[in-house]
């Protein structure tokens, strides 16, 4: 069975500082990895996915199969980045998502 771990429940940084939200997974096959974000009073929305290999709102995430990680990074955090971030895994032969526990990012002025 697959598992997604986000070791930090809360990450607090100052505006302009780099930020890295950690995500580790366990799965025997080749999964698809996602980052979802939930801003205050908004719905859960897709931030990025590993197959897109793109930067969204300055965030990037690289799938490291050797370390089974998919950490989310941004070089300069902004106050509007404050939100709840969830890492999620989808098996290569399935449709269901398995979510990590989530990390609350707080960017202080």
């Amino acid at each position: 069975a697959q598992r997604v771990t986000q070791p930090e429940k809360l990450l607090s940084v100052f505006k302009g500082a780099p930020v890295e939200l950690k995500c580790n997974y366990s799965y025997s096959g080749s999964p698809e990895l996602f980052w979802y974000v939930q801003y205050s009073r908004q719905r859960l929305q897709l931030l990025l996915r590993h197959i897109s290999r793109e930067s969204i709102k300055g965030f990037t995430a690289d799938l490291n199969k050797g370390e089974t990680s998919f950490h989310l990074k941004k070089p300069f955090a902004q106050e509007e980045d404050s939100a709840m971030y969830y890492c999620a895994l989808r098996p290569n032969a399935g449709n269901m998502l398995t979510f990590g526990g989530g990390t609350r990012l707080m960017v202080k002025p």
Partner: protein, 115 residues
């Protein structure tokens, strides 16, 4: 991406009663899912709603407690039966396209409180 509407957005219910949550999508989708997010917790998949057949439930969730309907490709309901305070959660509908690499998208959720 598809527009997903959930009703009600929130409700406060008495224990022992049942509530049906509706999920309407503005386009036909292959896959519809129901998730639960308990207070302070992450999302857990309850079941996959299958069009024209019984839903596929995840471990720990049963049809008697969470009956699901999926009469067509744009609509699904989740009923939370015989509610207890432990059922107080946010319930989310999600849609996706099976067999494709499209990501899942989520509704706003239904915040349910049981007294």
């Amino acid at each position: 991406s598809a527009v997903i509407s959930q009703k009600p957005s929130r409700d406060i219910c008495q224990r022992g009663t049942s509530l049906t949550i509706q999920c309407q999508v503005d386009s036909q989708v292959t896959m519809m899912f129901w998730y639960r997010q308990q207070p302070g917790q992450s999302l857990t998949l309850i079941a996959t709603a299958n069009q024209g057949s019984e839903a596929t439930y995840e471990s720990g969730f049963v049809i008697d407690k969470f009956p699901i309907s999926r009469p067509n490709l744009t609509f699904s309901t989740l009923t939370v039966s015989n509610m207890s305070p432990e059922d107080s959660s946010i319930y989310l509908c999600s849609v996706g396209e099976g067999g494709s690499n499209q990501p899942q998208h989520f509704g706003d959720g239904t915040r349910l409180s049981i007294l």
